[in-house]
Amino acid sequence: MSGLVALDPARHETVRFDAAAAGRGRAIAQLGRGEIALAACDMPLCFAKDGGTGRFNLVALMALGGDNLFAGAGGFHATYMPQAVLLGAFRLAEGGSGLAIDPADASIGARGAALIERGAVTSLVAELRAALQRLVEDVAAARALAEALARHRLLRPWRLVLRRAEAREHALDGLYTIDEEALAALDEAAVVALHRDGSLAAAAVIAASRQQLERLRQLHDAAQPDARIVVGELRLTSEPRARLDNHVI
């Protein structure tokens, strides 16, 4: 996303948007709260921290240390494409067309629907802007959900270890999932509050979606039959806090 430029009718006359090509090169995508049930049909959902604020974002995992496993030559092979994937080449911008594009994104090129025609933006641009606005709000709602779950200490690190035959282990760090033990130990008042605002149901779907890891593994092995992969979860055995007791050791 480093190559964002303002969409300019003068410069981008020939630029087209191919929705089916979106997603290549994207291992995770942020999700909006409204996408949970849809994306969980295909992908493991989990949380990752924002690098600038440390706050949790809800994300869909789409790769196992390599490229997006759903995005292939023939399009996006999933029942649902997350909005952040679909709109990955675009950002809302101030002034001008109101849209910025990343010309290097896989969905931007010579194929697909036109963004500019006869020197003016097409109606697609307004549609993209509206979708981006909805996504921003939906992502904010997902953040609020994550915040509520974190406040009740219902998130735990989800450390995935990938093992390829005859290759070194590779860890996927920085992902978090629902802590079902903590969920089971919630007090009554918290259960009621989280149930009423829908957080509990969302947490159950997110927890269940971990099983889609097997789907990712199958997709991976189907694409690379010679480099099969084993995916495991690394559980912490000891409390890191125990290390804090002494001055230096």
Binding site: G51, T53, G174, R241, L244, D245, N246, H247, V248, I249
Partner: protein
């Protein structure tokens, strides 16, 4: 049942803490949090004078503070926000070895690489004569490099209490007491009584039964924690437990403190304590979020108060011109016993020595680990607890005095009487003199100490000894030996950790800003 038996079986259910400084509120919070966690039914009352101020200094902590805060149930975010706290990765001692410009060394909070598996000191020493050889702290670990670069020990995505490098805090002492008080009263159910203790009632065998306040109210209890600071109301005033002075070993008996604002809003915040040697003492320099805390600790036998204040103002520069300095007298030493009858002294009432390694708050925490986590259930059990406590803390005090003296004893400075007197073996404790003899030919190791858990473990001694270029000659190193290969592996790992930390960790001020704005996550 005999009267003695009744006395011994009496349950301990009412604990009264006297004093509302850092010691009093840490004590009350630890006791009340433990009672809440275990539903033990123990009730905690804190009595403090509205008239007698707290000492108001004490801004450097140890990593132990992370544990203490977590046990009390205060989040790291609330702590950082509430106390204007900053992160501390150790101390840099400037000008202690000699007074040449730029001279200094680090005592970082990270242990040397591989410390649980091997001792790198002989390997460092074997190559330390080479041109361009790194100093000990930099060679064995990456934290000194982080300190030099002004980088934080963690990032905003690191969970609370966890660090890429080990860390402690710098905090505002006044705000710390306020944060602890609010937490104690609002969340932990501590009863807070404002009043001056005017009289103490004692029962059979001299146990304190109640404190009588100036307004006549009586506060009864089974165990009393004396946190009355230098007043030492119970341990000194009631029991007159003798005070063991150590001014013949550690000469500092005065402090002058200044609070210095930053000259601009985004001024870098130093991520370690800077201790700069002076003609007759040293100056501490501690960076908080809003200001620096700077102070001169010195020996009045070697320098006058006005001269010492002038030296402090020179150190700070023009920024000090409009600031008022606070003068504090230090009576260096500690009680011969800390727990007498049903009174246990915690904090300045138990003792105080110059804050060279910021050990006072740590001793409060260690005391409360012993008292709150193993609160005697009966008056009879208290006798055993007291004996254990007194033995452990007498040992800790002796070891702290020795470790502080080490910073002076091996100086190469000869410019003033203060440094010459410090280097004279006549002023060294026997334990230190004996160990220094050993350490000329062997690096400090766990076996050199009596306790399994020393307050200063062997790496601390190594950082100071080698930081000060102590003249040591260890057994030669064979580069082909298996242990040398292990050392190279650990050093290579430390190098990778250094490169990664330097690349990933944020500037110290940026991290604090992010924590204040967004908070740290629990996981």
């Amino acid at each position: 049942m005999s009267a003695n038996q009744r006395h011994d079986d009496a349950p301990v259910t009412e604990v009264v803490v006297v004093g509302g400084g850092s010691a009093g509120w840490i004590a009350a919070c630890r006791l009340a949090a433990q009672a809440q966690r275990t539903r033990s039914g123990v009730a905690v009352t804190l009595v403090e004078s509205a008239r007698i101020p707290t000492v108001g200094v004490g801004e450097g902590t140890w990593p132990t503070m992370r544990n203490t805060l977590a046990k009390i149930g205060i989040s790291e975010t609330d702590f950082v926000r509430g106390c204007d706290a900053a992160f501390k990765q150790g101390a840099r001692f400037a000008g202690w070895t000699d007074d040449s410009p730029g001279e200094g060394y680090y005592h970082p909070l990270n242990p040397p690489a591989g410390a649980t598996e091997l001792d790198l000191a002989p390997h460092w020493l074997a190559q330390s004569d080479a041109p361009e050889a790194a100093d000990f702290a930099t060679w064995v670990d990456f934290q000194a490099t982080l300190c030099d670069a002004g980088l934080a020990p963690k990032s905003i995505t690191t969970p609370e209490w966890v660090g890429q490098a080990n860390y402690a805090y710098h905090l505002d002492a006044g705000k710390f007491a306020t944060l602890l008080r609010e937490h104690a009263v609002e969340r932990l159910g501590v009863r807070h009584v404002l009043g001056d203790v005017a009289r103490v009632e004692q029962g059979d065998g001299g146990d304190v039964t109640a404190l009588v306040l100036a307004d006549g109210a009586a506060i009864a209890g089974d165990l009393f924690v004396d946190c009355t600071g230098f007043a030492a109301l119970l341990i000194g005033g009631v029991y007159a437990v003798p005070f063991r002075r150590c001014g013949d070993v550690l000469f500092a008996d005065r402090a002058i403190a200044l609070q210095v604002p930053y000259d601009r809003e985004d001024a870098p915040i130093t991520c370690h304590t800077v201790s700069t040697a002076q003609a007759a003492g040293w100056i501490w320099d501690i960076g908080l979020w809003t200001r620096r805390g700077v102070g001169h600790v010195y020996s009045s036998a070697h320098i006058g108060d006005d001269e010492a204040e002038a030296a402090l103002r020179r150190y700070v520069g023009p920024a000090a011109d409009s600031l008022t300095a606070r003068r504090i007298t230090i009576d260096g030493g500690h009680r011969e016993r800390f727990w007498q009858n049903n009174v246990v002294a915690v904090g300045l009432s138990a003792g105080f020595i110059e804050p060279l390694e910021a050990s006072a708050l740590m001793l409060i925490e260690a005391s409360m680990d012993a008292i709150a986590d193993r609160l005697p259930r009966t008056r009879g059990a208290m006798r055993v607890a007291a004996r254990q406590f007194n033995a452990a803390f007498t040992h800790h005090w002796a070891r702290i005095i020795e470790f502080l003296k080490l910073h002076y004893a091996i100086t190469k400075r000869t410019d003033t009487d203060f440094w010459r007197d410090n280097a004279s073996p006549a002023t060294w404790p026997d334990g230190l003199a004996e160990r220094l003899e050993l350490w000329r030919t062997q690096p400090p190791a766990p076996q050199d100490f009596d306790h399994a858990r020393e307050v200063f473990s062997w790496p601390s001694y190594q950082y100071v000894l080698h930081g000060m270029r102590f003249d040591a000659h260890y057994a030669p190193i064979d580069p082909a030996a298996p242990e040398s290969a292990l050392a190279r592996r650990h050093l290579a790992r430390a190098e990778r950790a250094r490169a990664e930390a330097m690349q990933r960790l944020p500037r110290h001020r940026d991290l604090i800003r992010a924590v204040r704005e967004h908070g740290l996550q629990a996981v």
